[in-house]
């Protein structure tokens, strides 16, 4: 059992299998939650697995210059965005358009949880990422800037855009603010 995140990371860097399990247990809920909001419920498990495979593969490169959680979030967001791009390419070839039933009767039936997922799924992936880091993971602007490697000053304006687009999408789906 490792006492701190730093010990746990060091043990994983030494290929300690038990430490890998411990690290997975410690962070799997956070990664799965992020993946669910970024890639959707149906792909969240695949994306989470990919995040941890990539994590254990790249953990030797973690030098402790950033907080481990920041590094993990960065990796998880990047993996999820890659997942979305790959999936998007396949889907756009299979379907000329994504059929969406926006009639009032359908939105009435749609639960709020499903409505949120449908709207997030239509939001630009980069805007989705910043929105999820703030609203779901509750990172502050400094942590978001470090995670996405952007200037802290641009976090607010991107969140404005993300929220504005998401609001429009939700309203189109029948949401009443």
């Amino acid at each position: 059992m490792c006492d701190s995140a730093a010990d746990l990371v060091a043990a994983c860097q030494a290929q300690d299998h038990g430490a890998q399990r411990e690290l997975y247990e410690k962070y799997q809920h956070r990664v799965f939650r992020l993946a669910t909001r970024l890639v959707g419920v149906s792909d969240a498990a695949d994306a989470t697995q990919q995040v941890f495979l990539q994590l254990f593969r790249a953990i030797g490169q973690f030098r402790g210059q950033a907080r481990f959680e920041t590094w993990l979030y960065r990796l998880a967001v990047n993996e999820c965005l890659q997942h979305i791009r790959r999936r998007g390419k396949v889907r756009t070839r299979e379907l000329a358009y994504e059929p969406v039933d926006r009639s009032a009767s359908s939105t009435n039936r749609m639960e709020l949880r499903e409505l949120l997922e449908a709207a997030l799924g239509q939001l630009d992936p980069d805007l989705r990422a910043i929105f999820v880091l703030r609203e779901v993971e509750e990172l502050n602007y400094n942590q978001i800037a470090e995670t996405l490697q952007i200037a802290e000053g641009t976090v607010g304006s991107r969140l404005n855009r993300a929220r504005s687009h998401l609001r429009e999408l939700l309203i189109e789906l029948g949401w009443i603010p």
């Binding site: 799997q28 495979l53 949401w175």
Partner: protein, 285 residues
């Protein structure tokens, strides 16, 4: 303050990221402005919606599945499948051609590689590791590269002066990408030009241009010889991406990080066109 100034501050206001003084100004504005007040109300409603939309737990079998992949000597093989699936979806005939070309040309490629096996493996870049580092951020990737080879940040004019040719990226990155940085990298085969390109959607693409006659070395990785974008490319699969190399004039270009065969064809055609326009010749010749 006016609406146009306040609008920029609405998310920071909602997220508690403003100083007391600015926060008070926004508060005062919201008392008089229905539009901005509605925007803030909508932000609060969305936060409430997110907070009250539960996320299911990760499936119990996820660790077991992950563990199997970690234990396997071919640990990353399943993770590579999606890209192959894309190839299969794209064009069955292309896949058939790929297999035939891989088998037919493979022997020739192997013989060609065998001659230089020792030298090439010695000179090989660890593409997997390099790509993995780059996906964590271009700084990390570049640091890893710099730990193995002598690198120097340059601009195109420096390249032309030092290497006496105009690199293909100098005429423009592939459509949808921007040039992030250009480096000279002293490799065992030659000094090459490395360019980091970033796509509008955040995709990273690395472009290496060598003067060496033979394509960049993939080490012990088995490359597939494949016609793509009108060129014969040597291609390997990395985790969730492809790396490919092909001749352009008397040099070779290698790209790392293309998503699939369609994108590779686009990139190959772009650089071929750019090289054709510039003559792809040595400066002053």
């Amino acid at each position: 303050m006016k609406c146009v100034e306040i609008e920029k501050l609405l998310s920071p206001f909602h997220d508690g990221e403003l100083s007391e003084e600015v926060r008070a100004s926004v508060d005062a504005h919201l008392d008089d402005c229905t539009d901005c007040a509605q925007t803030i109300a909508a932000m609060r409603s969305m936060s409430h919606l997110v907070a009250h939309s539960p996320v299911p737990d990760a499936p119990d079998e996820l660790w077991t599945s992950l563990e199997e992949q970690l234990d396997s000597t071919e640990a990353m093989t399943p993770a590579r499948l999606p890209v192959y699936r894309h190839i299969l979806r794209l064009n069955t005939a292309l896949v058939a051609a790929l297999v035939l070309v891989a088998v037919g040309v493979g022997i020739r490629v192997f013989r060609g590689f065998h001659v230089h096996e020792h030298t090439m493996n010695h000179a090989a870049m660890d593409f997997e590791r390099y790509w993995s580092a780059f996906r964590m951020g271009s700084d990390q990737g570049q640091r890893l590269l710099a730990s193995q080879f002598e690198t120097r940040l340059v601009d195109v004019a420096d390249v032309e002066e030092r290497l006496q040719y105009r690199p293909v990226v100098a005429n423009g990155p592939p459509p949808g990408f921007q040039l992030d940085a250009t480096y000279l990298v002293k490799m065992p085969c030659c000094t090459c030009v490395e360019t980091v390109c970033r796509g509008e959607n955040g995709q990273m693409l690395l472009v290496l241009e060598h003067t060496a006659e033979q394509a960049v070395c993939f080490g012990n990785r088995s490359a597939v010889s494949c016609p793509c974008g009108g060129k014969q490319t040597q291609m390997i699969q990395l985790e969730n991406a492809l790396a490919a190399t092909w001749p352009v004039g008397n040099r070779s270009v290698t790209v790392i990080g293309v998503q699939d065969m369609d994108q590779l064809a686009e990139v190959v055609r772009h650089f071929d066109r750019e090289a054709g326009q510039s003559g792809s010749d040595r400066v002053g010749s």
